[in-house]
């Protein structure tokens, strides 16, 4: 699936988007998998209360299932308007 990062999450990880091959069942499983990869992921995902997640471009939760999902995005709380 495609994993996208925005704002400071993108900066901390160092990429706006990447392809991730995973069997993670939920967003939380994916986060834990990414955390073990490299320090920059562990740093970006250190405090989940500071993060929001979208699954296939809909705001979602960390316990959301990932079956048949094409795109997951991580970002800080939004500041539009």
């Amino acid at each position: 699936m495609d994993v996208l990062y925005f704002a400071w999450v993108r900066e901390r990880i160092g990429a706006p988007k990447e392809r991730v091959e995973t069997n993670a069942a939920t967003v939380m499983d994916l986060v834990n998998e990414l955390r073990t990869r490299e320090e920059r992921y562990a740093a970006a995902f250190a405090d989940l209360s500071a993060l929001r997640v979208a699954v296939d471009q809909e705001l979602s939760d960390f316990d959301a299932p990932l079956k048949d999902v094409r795109e997951v995005a991580f970002f800080p709380p939004m500041t539009g308007g």
């Binding site: 704002a7 471009q57 709380p77 308007g81």
Partner: protein, 147 residues
């Protein structure tokens, strides 16, 4: 419903006139415009607005649809810019129309409250001393509770 996410500036007067002109049977048009304002202490050089192409449009359409369901609204216009903006630049606008003004006023406030914390935009401020992402305010989240 007319929703535009764009890097280009927009003409507030022309957009408002065009919106008002295409209404029929509507007694009220309400508009809100967001403007890049300078900071209290530091000097703001640039405000960078990042967004999530694809999701942004969907999120704005969803918010506008909810406003349509909730109030007796004729039409909704949302324009939101992204990219590099400077102090006094227009960031975004919403316009709503209704037969009587209460619906247009309330729908415009609803749109703004949800647009601030449910549409995927992020602001970064570059000042004379630092560059920081703008933190979401708890009062913006609290503002959703009244709806």
């Amino acid at each position: 419903m007319d929703i535009r996410v764009q890097a280009e500036p927009f003409d507030l007067g022309a957009e408002t006139n065009a919106f008002a002109a295409r209404q029929s049977g509507m007694g009220a048009v309400v508009t809100f415009t967001g403007i890049v304002r300078d900071l209290d202490n530091d000097v703001l050089d640039v405000m960078e607005i990042e967004h999530y192409p694809g999701m942004t449009e969907k999120a704005l359409e969803k918010i506008a649809s909810q406003a349509h369901e909730r109030w007796d609204i004729g039409d909704i216009l949302i324009i939101h810019r992204h990219g590099s903006l400077r102090p006094d630049d227009l960031i975004m606008m919403v316009a709503t129309s209704s037969r009587h003004r209460a619906d247009a006023f309330q729908a415009a406030e609803f749109l703004m409250d949800f647009l601030k914390s449910r549409a995927p935009f992020w602001k970064k401020e570059k000042t004379n001393v630092s560059t920081d992402w703008v933190a979401a305010k708890s009062k913006d989240e609290d503002a959703l509770k009244r709806w």
